[in-house]
Amino acid sequence: MSQAQSNTVVLSVSSSPHVRSSESTARIMWSVFVCLIPSGIVSWNVFGISAAAIMLTAVGTAALTEALFCRLQSRPLTVGDGSACLTGLLLAYNLPAQAPLWLAALGAAVAIIFGKAVFGGLGGNIFNPALVGRVFLMASFPSLMTRWPAPPMFGLDAVTAPTPLAILKDSVQQTQIITAAEIIPYTLWDLFLGRRGGCIGEASVAALLAGAAVLLWRGSISWHIPASFIGTVAVVSWCFGGQGLFTGNWPVHVLAGGLTLGAFFMATDYVTAPLTKKGKCIFGVGCGLITAIIRLWGGYPEGVSYAILLMNAAVPLIDRYVVPRRFGGGGR
């Protein structure tokens, strides 16, 4: 038998494990991005080319800003990981379809700079960057941010069509006893399919859910946050959203506004959500409560963004105290 000679090649001796899964940060971010695209296509259909222009502007600006700040902070270039583009797209989804392009660009830049770069880049931020951008725009340009175009397919030419939630809120505050069907010019089916006024990404619940289903199936997101978030909004709006207890129009609350987008795509942002399953449920319930409170009693018709941002601030606390039970018992 031939004497097996010892290798002269230098063997690598890094410590175990010696294999890795194929999942990567970039794959996760881009898969979320792709899962948002169906909804973008519906918006394009509903709102026209302006919506597409806004999406492109926001994504492009976010990527450029990210590149610039990687340079400035001498960090490796991280545009390829897709997280900046995702932030840009999510910001666009939070803008009215008739927003001027400069507004989209400004929002995207603010989202990347103040939502992410100042914290040292991906992973360091506390608040969801896209929501930081949106809230900045809401505070600075409230009129531009609340001019909702009526979907052209309704044949209306109104520049400002009220959103379903605004209609619902007004009706309840005026204490008129009318049914949802009478006050809202859209049916639930319209809401679900994407025939209504609102932000770009709020257009079609169906398209958002299709994307979310892929993410859930892929294991990119877990059900804990969306389920507890939407469930809480449904329960609270059913209990307190009407004239008496348990008469609230909860289906409208669930389908309208940015709840689907927020619960599946923004509250689930890894960086700004809790890590444990229990923590995620607490986070979701908190988001749901704040959303419902703002919608029912607050000054704005919509509260999803503020709810998520407020709960983002609570995440370090949740992560600190909601920890898994130690294997084998015993104190922590």
Partner: protein
Amino acid sequence: MGNKTFVGGWHVWSHKELTRDAAIVAAPLPPRVVIPLAQHAGIVCRPLVKAGDTVLTGQKIGDAEGLITAPVHASISGKVTVVGDALHPVLGSAPAVTIESDGADRQDPAITPAGDPRGLSRNELVSRIRAAGIVGLGGAAFPTHVKLSPQKPVDVLIINGVECEPYLTCDYRLLVERPDEILDGIGLLQRAVGVEKVYIGIEDDKPLAIRTFQKRVSALKLPFSVVPVEVKYPQGAEKQLIKALVDREVPPGKLPFDVGVVVSNAGTALAAAEAVFQGKPLYERTVTVTGTTVREPKNIRVRLGTSFAELIAWCGGTTAPAGKIVMGGPMMGLAQFSDAVPVVKGTSGILVLSTAELVLPPEQPCIRCARCVDACPMQLLPYAMSLCAQMKQAERARVYNPSDCIECGVCTYVCPSKRRILEHIRLLKVGAK
């Protein structure tokens, strides 16, 4: 799937198809063996031979006083050429006995069948198992006779037939090829520990092994339960298997016998049977030699002390230069500096990874995706320990109980940011001492 399991864990790509159907073959007699005197957890043996001595196969060549130790035996017959430090796959370098083969494989005449072992007392069983140098063959190489004399009352014996490490199939092959001898061994272990309940845990990706055992157990009317467990890494880790099979959790810093359980590997049961029935000491074992670039991956019965290089060459060598050679599986195995290291009692596999398969992706910041938290079988917070280690805050990391970590590596495997989490945790553990 509904089969029993633990909390956490991950489906790790198994690569077992490389050798799953490769029946065990005996390696040719090696021309030379290097037998380390430390092949087990515990006290290193003293050599009982010196250079120039002639030894027979199975002859005891090293032993030590004390409880936690096990004797070592010559694996071939021939002449002792060197007694001194040599390469060791775990320790780097350790005292060893080098034997040049005389090619005759003459057995030590002391190796004789024991007659009917049913007449043996528990103590006699345990002392035979010690004399044969039996240690846990799953990898940890803890002396079996110590496990069989637990310091606390135990009521359950668990046989680990899980083999959850990717690539490895040597236990699986033993399960399907030699079920009756393994069952004999299990019966001996059961009597030695003196328990009634015996569970044999096998992962449900090994249906043939499960069926074989269920059939044999019912045919022989044995009082054992064969329990399929969910295929999930690290299902074969001691604490996780106990949790899955009898729903008991070994508290931090404690051992299985603290919850009334003794765990033994299926291959170890076979070795115990050979020791007691045939008087055969542990001088050979089954090893999976595998890797996508190994020409003919095999399950091989190997004499201890054979070099890795020789076995890889016997498998046809590799189609690409080896980048890494791992003793054991890819999740918990040890990367070797050299392919000249010998097979020891704890060598369950030799895995060759080509340079193309070397994974050293750059570390990225944690994106808090929670995969490591969900996958940790000990319900730890790996991301948090990793961050503390990187910020050199070993003190702060204490609240996360790094000492609970069983070093299964699944956190590092799943991390999309390719963080070397386990490496960071090891730093914490060293720092905490």
